[in-house]
Symmetry: C2
Subunit: 132 residues, 2 copies
DNA sequence: TCAAATCCTATTGAGTTAGTAGGAATTTAA
DNA sequence: TTAAATTCCTACTAACTCAATAGGATTTGA
């Protein structure tokens, strides 16, 4: 029941970009140093974010990344779903339709549905704006 | 960010015991069959619960397990902490005192503290009584 | 042209998960 | 007294995930 380094580092990176969003493009080298994260590992994580429209990128000399939108438009839940994968706390809640044969009579299911709700409600309520 | 089979199976086993608590000692064989869980695996999980005062045990012929207390006294959070280990959503929140060097200025920490709170509040609010 | 940066993909050691397996100890019924 | 049914204890393992490391291709500004 742990958030992995991918999700944690991604959030720290985006907070860093939000804090420095008046500085133009920020290189991974700078972020990696400020955040004490391996630059090579951060490269992989940023590619996950880069598949979405969250970031603007500049390659080559003086290149780097910047936020594509206002910090208030980055919900923590979206950041984590991109980097951690499905946030469902049990696998039978990963899909829209519960495929588990026991779903119809499973007494424990309501625990997981409720847990899923409080987690997702909470993470939906926070944006980068709240963290800088 | 998943609850493992240990926690899920333990909860299902205890719900089963709560539902059948007027039937005397219930064998793992019966529970394993009703719940479609490997008996041998369930043996390991029940030993985790058995280290606490949650269960009464009878060995030998016609032996089995029963709840030691009223279902309302079994909080889901306690069941999961015993079987899953520490439920903290990030490792820096596992101990009473946060040992992370970055804790003093980490902007992401408040996300994890808040998430930890909503998870633990929710899981503390549910008992076996609510699930039968 | 060179240096600094992103982009892309392969590999790997360590740890975790979800069991399987075998047998010892205990208890009751026949 | 013996056999069967049960818990108790511990070792093992295949598959998977995590957290990087690594090497180089590509792009771009000075």
């Amino acid at each position: 029941m742990k958030i992995s380094t991918k999700g944690r580092y991604a959030l720290r990176m985006l907070i860093d970009l939000a804090e420095n969003r008046d500085q133009g493009y920020i290189s991974l080298k700078d972020i990696a140093e400020r955040q004490s994260i391996s630059r090579k590992y951060l490269e992989q994580i940023v590619q996950l974010l880069n598949k979405t429209d969250m970031l603007k990128t500049s390659r080559g000399y003086n290149g780097g990344y910047m936020l594509a939108k206002d910090p208030s438009e980055y919900r923590v839940i979206d950041i984590l779903e991109i980097t951690e994968g499905n946030l469902a706390c049990v696998s039978c809640l990963e899909d829209e339709v519960n495929e588990c044969k026991r779903a119809g009579f499973c007494k424990s299911l309501k625990v997981w549905q409720g847990l899923d709700n409080v987690i997702k409600n909470y993470l939906s309520s926070i944006t980068l704006q709240d963290l800088i």
